[in-house]
Symmetry: C2
Subunit: 318 residues, 2 copies
């Protein structure tokens, strides 16, 4: 089942992540359509702009921008870049924009983020998870700052190919190939759950501690005590993954730790959410992994304490 024409791509939620990948795909010649909410007017008027340490200054103007899902053409691939905290309202939008056989890639952090979407989507749609190893943030409406990295790893979550190994792998490979054509590292992952646990090894310490300690990666990596705390939290995530049947190599946490030392000061997305008093993505990044580990008989006390402290902050922000 090869597509004669290049696939049409829809970006649901054009924040830092959706904006970056959508712009890169559009510049590579793909037909990309952007759904926006608060930033529609700015992007429609002035376009999308990327200031990238890796790719330089890139712009896209005009942008195929939409304020309403009902105005968008049916898309073959959908990249979902919204916050997990809005997932309840997302399914009807996806259903409206998706072509009958569409592939929907959820570019969100955390565990089981696809589950709540799945039950409200047509069975014909393929749901994938996308793990973004990238340092980006929005500096203004339609303006994305790209500090480092970029890799996106894909895994199949659910859909009509779930029991057809070859077709499933074909779909994931097709997605990874799209990104690679746009100059972005991308790999097909055999096990999405395991890939999501891998990503948590980074997200659990750095997202939470950036909020709790009001610190970016440079400060967190410069202090002996925060370094120990980060390593202890990473070790707990690895334990939780193992309890849930997903082996993570010991060296992986070390690798994430060392990689972070090499970053220019990065403030994770949860810090920006906190700063603007938006809801924190605690269910996806903390509560669900903790519950999964606990169900497997594994307590993660530091991660739980961090989750409880963040929950306090999250409720106070609200």
């Amino acid at each position: 089942m090869t597509q004669a024409t290049p696939p049409r791509i829809g970006i649901i939620g054009t924040g830092a992540i959706g904006g970056f990948y959508g712009l890169m795909l559009a510049r590579a010649g793909f037909d990309v359509h952007f759904l926006l909410r608060s930033e529609y007017a700015a992007v429609n008027d002035r376009g999308l702009h990327l200031n990238s340490v890796v790719h330089g200054a890139l712009s896209l103007h005009p942008v195929q921008a939409y304020a309403r899902a009902s105005d968008m053409p049916p898309c073959d691939w959908l990249l979902v870049g919204t916050k997990t905290t809005g997932n309840l309202e997302l399914a009807p939008i996806i259903a409206q924009v998706a072509a009958p056989d569409a592939k929907v890639v959820v570019l969100q952090n955390g565990l089981d983020v696809e589950d709540s979407l799945r039950e409200h989507l047509p069975g014909s749609l393929h749901l994938l998870g996308g793990l973004c190893y990238i340092c980006v943030h929005r500096s203004a409406p339609g303006v994305v700052e790209h500090q480092a990295l970029g890799r996106i790893n894909l895994g199949y979550h659910s859909g009509s190919a779930i029991n057809d190994d070859l077709r499933r792998q074909g779909i994931v490979e097709e997605g990874a190939a799209l990104f690679r054509q746009a100059g972005i590292d991308s790999q097909a992952m055999a096990n999405l759950h395991q890939a999501r646990w891998h990503k948590l090894v980074w997200n659990v310490p750095y997202n939470g501690l950036s909020v709790l300690l009001g610190a970016g990666t440079t400060a967190l990596m410069a202090d002996e005590s925060s370094r120990e705390l980060i390593q202890a939290l990473m070790a707990e995530v690895v334990l939780g993954a193992q309890a849930c049947g997903h082996e993570i190599a010991e060296s992986y946490a070390e690798q994430m730790f060392t990689m972070t030392e090499s970053l220019t000061d990065y403030w994770p997305s949860m810090y920006h959410d906190h700063l603007h008093k938006r809801p924190l993505e605690l269910a996806a990044i903390y509560a669900r992994p903790l519950a999964a580990a606990k169900a497997a008989g594994c307590e993660l006390p530091r991660m739980q304490a961090l989750y409880q402290a963040l929950s306090f902050i999250d409720r106070r922000n609200a």
Copy 2:
């Protein structure tokens, strides 16, 4: 060995704690001498003032105030109300002010706070620990706000009576009687170490979380997640105490938790230290109990994570 004349009492460090107990003892007719540093001029000029929910508005003026230890008369009882973070400089001051057979009561939180003093004090001095269950803070130089409670429990640490049960108990009882004569609840504790672990059940969660979450007791007790975290931290302190051979009744932590619910909003001393970028008392309240528990084979992961987070904040403040 009864004293014909009432004992002379010296207050080393007239902050909220030293100011409160010293003023109460002076009002009860004791001969109390106050050593001050930054607030000497204010207290010498305008006196000491207490705004107490329990005792009303009380004043002491003139005050027997001193800027230098060398100016003070020898005291029979010394109450040490300075921060543990200054204990290294304290021994010579105590040695200078103490009468030959003096009793020195260390009114500080944390574990083993007497140890570093002991080795630099004459063997003739009796060293005691005082556990203050009280909500006080300074609102201005020489002005103490007393919100709730007041009890001070005493225990013998070291000195020439260490192997003489009767004499030791007599000294501790004599101290407790002084406070009771000033209208303050006070009890002699048979085991200072155990008493200090009891006090940690409150200090470990509330001091640290007030800094980490920027919250007083009312906010901390109003949120489901911070309540759970407080209870989990209390449970860890109880475990640590047990590992070190000090049984703490299960109901004790519950009692501290319930008591805190009844307080009007209280911001622990560590919060004020943080606010004014003074060193936090982390060694006494966190590092030493953690080390003692660890030496006994007991890990306290939440308390350790809290300690690591606070260490980061403490170093940033410096």
